[in-house]
Symmetry: C2
Subunit: 458 residues, 2 copies
C-alpha cells in the first residue's frame, strides 16, 4: 500500500463513519495524518517532520531496521501458537529473566498491557485465595473490564454504584501535590501507612487483600515518582495480609529510567515485586506483552487445574521482535542514552523553572519526565488551559508533546529512547518561547475544545 | 535467528524453567518442535512434514507471502497508534464493513479475541444499562477475567461461589446430544424458548438482560451447528428484554463455512446480530482482532464520556495485514475452496460413518467439521479415550488433528483454508486405518496421560 490512499478529508470522513466515536484522535479539530516515521521523527502526508516526544511505544525508535528485519525473517519462516515447542519463546523468556531479580523467573506471554494486568490480578487472586485489590489514586492499568475496575483514572467517571466493591484506592504517593509532600518528614512511610490503614479497614469488614498494584512510576496519573522506600513498606504490609505486590512496568520499563532497566529498581535492591507486568515498549509497536512472576505464584496458579492459553501470546514472531528490541537497547546503549539525555533535558527544564513562574515542578528519571504547570506555586492551582496551549503551540512548531495527570496540567516527556540532546534543546527552546508568549495571552482565548484534548496518551 | 537455536531437550528444559506451567503443550509426553511452516504444512526440527488440520489461525495458509510482504512493507514505513489519522485503518474498516450487513458499520480494533469479547460485553452493558449476560453451555469466549465468567468451558472447574451471579447458562443448541435432538419437531424454537425462560427467571429476580452471546458455531463446545432459526428467535427474546445479540466469530469467521463469509449468516438473511466479534484468522497469526457494531450501540457507548483507547489496536501494520488477508481470500477463492473441500471431506467422513460404528455424528460447514465418536449410537456414550487414540496415532502419521467438546470425543477439523481434496483423502484414509485397528485395542491400554491432552485448541 502506498503511503497515502485517500485525501485527508476523506480519511476523516471514513473514520467518522466506520471507527468507534469513543476512539479519540490527537488534536481533533485539526488532526495530524502521519504516513511515515523513523527514529524520533514522524512525517505527515505532506512530508512535514514532527519531533516525537510522546511515543514510548516506539521504544528503540520508529521502524528500527533491526526490529523490522527480525520480524520479517521470522514471519517468512513460522508464526504459530505456543502449544508447539519453539526456541524463540524459551530464549526470549530466558533473556527477559536475566534483566530481573532471580526470583522473578516464570513468564506468561500475552498481547497487551491490558491482558498482562488482567492476568496479574488472576495470578494474585489464585495465589492468595483473596479478592480485594488496592490501587492508587489516578491510576490507569488498562481497558478491559477488570482493569477499569482498578483504574480511578477511568472509573472516576462512573457512579459509586458502578464501582467495584473489592477495589480500594490509596493516595497517590505524590510528594508535590499529594497528601504528604516533600517537606513532610518521611512521606514514604506516611503513604505506606495509608495502605496499611486500608488493609485494616478491609480486614474489619471481613475482606482479604489479594494484591496491591501500582505503576512503578505513575504515568497518566501525572508522572509521579514515589518516594524511595515506599514500595518496600507497602510490600511488607501487603505480604503480611497474604497479598502480592504487582509492579506495572507497561509504560516505564525497558531502560527508560536510565539508571535501571526496570523502574521498580529505583526503590533500591531490597525491593522485589511478586509480579511484574510489561507492555508498550516491549515490541516497539508490535502487539505483545508479558507477565513475570515467581515459581511459587506460578505453581499456585496451575493448581487451579485451569489451563492458560493465549492464541497469539509468545508466538515466534512476537518473540523474535522482543529479542531484537532487547538487542538494540544494548547495542545502541539506549538505557545510557536515556540517563544522559534525560539528565540533560531535566537540567534544561530546571533552568526554565527559574525563569517561568508557571512551572511548578520538574520531576523525572531518564526519559520519563513531567513538567507540572501551576498558576500559583504556593496554592499549586493547576494551569490546565496553559498546559493545553503549550501542547497546541508546540504542535504548530511540529513538536508532539502531551499533557496529563488528574488536572491535565503535567507536560509528559516519554520519547523514543534515541532522543538526543539536540532534540532536548529544540523542545525546551520552543517551550521557553511559548511560555514567554503565554503571559500575553488572555486566559479566555484558550478554547474549551482544546481543553478536551487533554486525554491520557496511554 | 536460525530455525533452531537449542537441542530439543534444552528447549523443553528452558520451557519448564521459564514459561508458566499452566501453559500446556501439545502431546506433552512427546511434544513437537515446529521450526517452519508453509500453506497447510508444518515442519519440525528434523525437516519432517506434518499436515495441519487444526490451525484455523493460519487462515490463508502459514506464512502466506502476500501477508508477510504487506507486513514487512508497512513495518518499514510506520507503526503507530490510532490517535493519528491513517488510511490503513479507515480503508480496512471500510473493507470489513463491506462483508457485513449494512447496519454493522462501526469498528473497534483490538488485539485478541479476548479483548474483542470483553469490549462487546462493555458495549452491550453500556447500551442497555443492564448487567446480566446469557451464555451457552460449554461456551468458550476468552481468557480475561470477564470472559472466564461467561465461559462454562472454563468456569465449570470453579465452585458455585466463584461463579458470577450475573451470568446465566442456556442449553447448547446441539441437535445430536443436547436436550432437543434432530428428531424433535422444532429444536430451534425449543432451544430459543429455553433462553426465553432464563430471561423470565432473571426478570422475576429483578435482573435485566444486557446480552446473549454465542459463537455462531460452537467450537470448543464440540463443533455444534445451531438449528436454523434459533438465532432469530433468541434475538427476538433478547431484544424484547432490552439486550443485545453478540455473535462471536473469533473461531469461525472469514469464509471458513464456505457458503457465507460469516458463520452467523448460515441462519439466514433475516438474522443480523447487534455486535460481531472477530479474531484468530483475521491476521493470519498476527495479534489483532475487531468488534463491529451498529451506529446506535457505538453512540450509546460514547455517551458514557469514557474514551476507548487501545495502544496497539488498529495500528497501520495490523491493518495492512488484515487487508492482505482479505485480498488473499478473494484472490485464491478460499471461501469457495472451503465450500468444495469441506463438502468433499464431509462426504468422505460420511462413508466412514457407514463403516465404523464408533462414528456417531458428522457435522460441519465448509472447513469447520466435527466427527463425534461414541461407543454406542443409541446411548451416545462418549468414546473419549478412542478419540485421544486417534489423535495420537494421527500424530505418529504426521497429521495434526485435535479432539474437543465437553466429553473430548469430537474430532475437530479447522485447517488452513488452502486445505486440498488430496489432504482430505490422506487424513480420512489414515483415520479409517486407525479406527479399523482400534477394535483390536483393549480400552485399558489407552494412557490416562493421553486423555489429559484433550484440551481445547482455542
Amino acid at each position: 500500500m502506498s503511503a497515502e490512499k485517500f485525501e485527508k478529508s476523506k480519511t476523516i470522513e471514513l473514520r467518522k463513519k466506520h471507527v468507534g466515536p469513543s476512539c479519540k484522535i490527537f488534536f481533533s479539530h485539526d488532526p495530524i495524518k502521519i504516513v511515515q516515521a523513523k527514529g524520533q521523527y514522524m512525517y505527515d502526508e505532506k512530508g512535514q517532520c514532527y519531533l516525537d516526544c510522546i511515543n514510548n511505544v516506539a521504544h528503540v525508535g520508529h521502524c528500527h531496521p533491526d526490529v523490522v528485519k527480525a520480524a520479517a525473517q521470522q514471519m517468512e519462516l513460522l508464526n504459530t501458537n505456543s502449544r508447539f515447542l519453539h526456541d524463540n519463546l524459551v530464549f526470549y523468556a530466558q533473556r527477559l529473566q536475566a534483566t530481573l531479580p532471580e526470583k522473578l523467573s516464570v513468564c506468561y506471554f500475552v498481547n497487551s498491557g491490558s491482558e498482562a494486568n488482567d492476568l496479574a490480578l488472576r495470578l494474585a487472586r489464585q495465589y492468595s485465595g483473596h479478592k480485594d485489590i488496592i490501587t492508587l489514586e489516578n491510576a490507569y492499568h488498562g481497558h478491559v473490564s477488570s482493569l477499569i475496575d482498578i483504574s480511578p483514572y477511568k472509573f472516576h467517571q462512573l457512579s459509586d454504584a458502578e464501582q467495584n466493591q473489592f477495589v480500594h484506592v490509596a493516595p497517590s504517593p505524590d510528594v508535590y501535590r499529594g497528601k504528604y509532600r516533600a517537606d513532610y518528614s518521611d512521606p514514604a512511610t506516611a503513604y505506606a501507612n495509608e495502605v496499611k490503614a486500608i488493609i485494616d479497614t478491609v480486614h474489619k469488614k471481613g475482606g482479604k487483600i489479594a494484591a496491591f498494584i501500582a505503576e512503578s512510576l505513575q504515568s497518566c496519573g501525572g508522572q509521579v515518582i514515589p518516594p524511595v522506600g515506599y514500595f518496600q513498606q507497602v510490600a511488607k504490609h501487603v505480604h503480611k495480609a497474604g497479598g502480592l505486590f504487582i509492579a506495572d512496568e507497561v509504560q516505564v520499563g525497558f531502560g527508560r529510567v536510565g539508571t535501571n532497566f526496570w523502574a521498580f529498581q529505583l526503590q533500591g535492591e531490597d525491593f522485589v515485586p511478586d509480579i511484574v507486568t510489561m507492555g508498550k515498549p516491549i515490541g516497539n509497536g508490535h502487539p505483545m506483552s508479558c507477565v513475570v512472576t515467581t515459581r511459587e505464584v506460578a505453581e499456585a496458579f496451575m493448581s487451579s487445574g485451569m489451563e492458560y492459553f493465549n492464541t497469539f501470546g509468545g508466538n515466534p514472531v512476537s518473540c523474535a521482535i522482543g529479542l531484537a528490541v532487547l538487542d538494540v537497547i544494548v547495542k545502541e546503549d539506549l538505557q545510557g542514552n536515556a540517563l544522559r539525555v534525560g539528565q540533560y533535558l531535566t537540567n534544561l527544564l530546571e533552568k526554565q523553572k527559574e525563569k517561568h513562574p508557571l512551572i511548578g515542578d520538574i520531576r523525572g528519571c531518564g526519559l520519563f519526565v513531567g513538567v507540572e504547570l501551576v498558576k500559583d506555586r504556593l496554592k499549586l492551582t493547576p494551569a490546565t488551559a496553559e498546559a493545553q496551549e503549550v501542547i497546541y503551540k508546540l504542535k504548530e512548531q511540529h513538536i508532539l508533546l502531551s499533557a496529563d495527570g488528574p488536572h491535565r496540567n503535567v507536560l509528559k516527556f516519554k520519547p523514543p529512547m534515541c532522543f538526543t540532546m539536540e532534540d532536548a534543546d529544540l523542545v525546551v527552546e520552543k517551550i521557553d518561547l511559548i511560555l514567554t508568549g503565554l503571559y500575553h495571552i488572555i486566559a479566555g482565548t484558550v478554547l474549551i475544545a482544546q481543553m478536551n484534548e487533554a486525554t491520557c496518551l496511554v
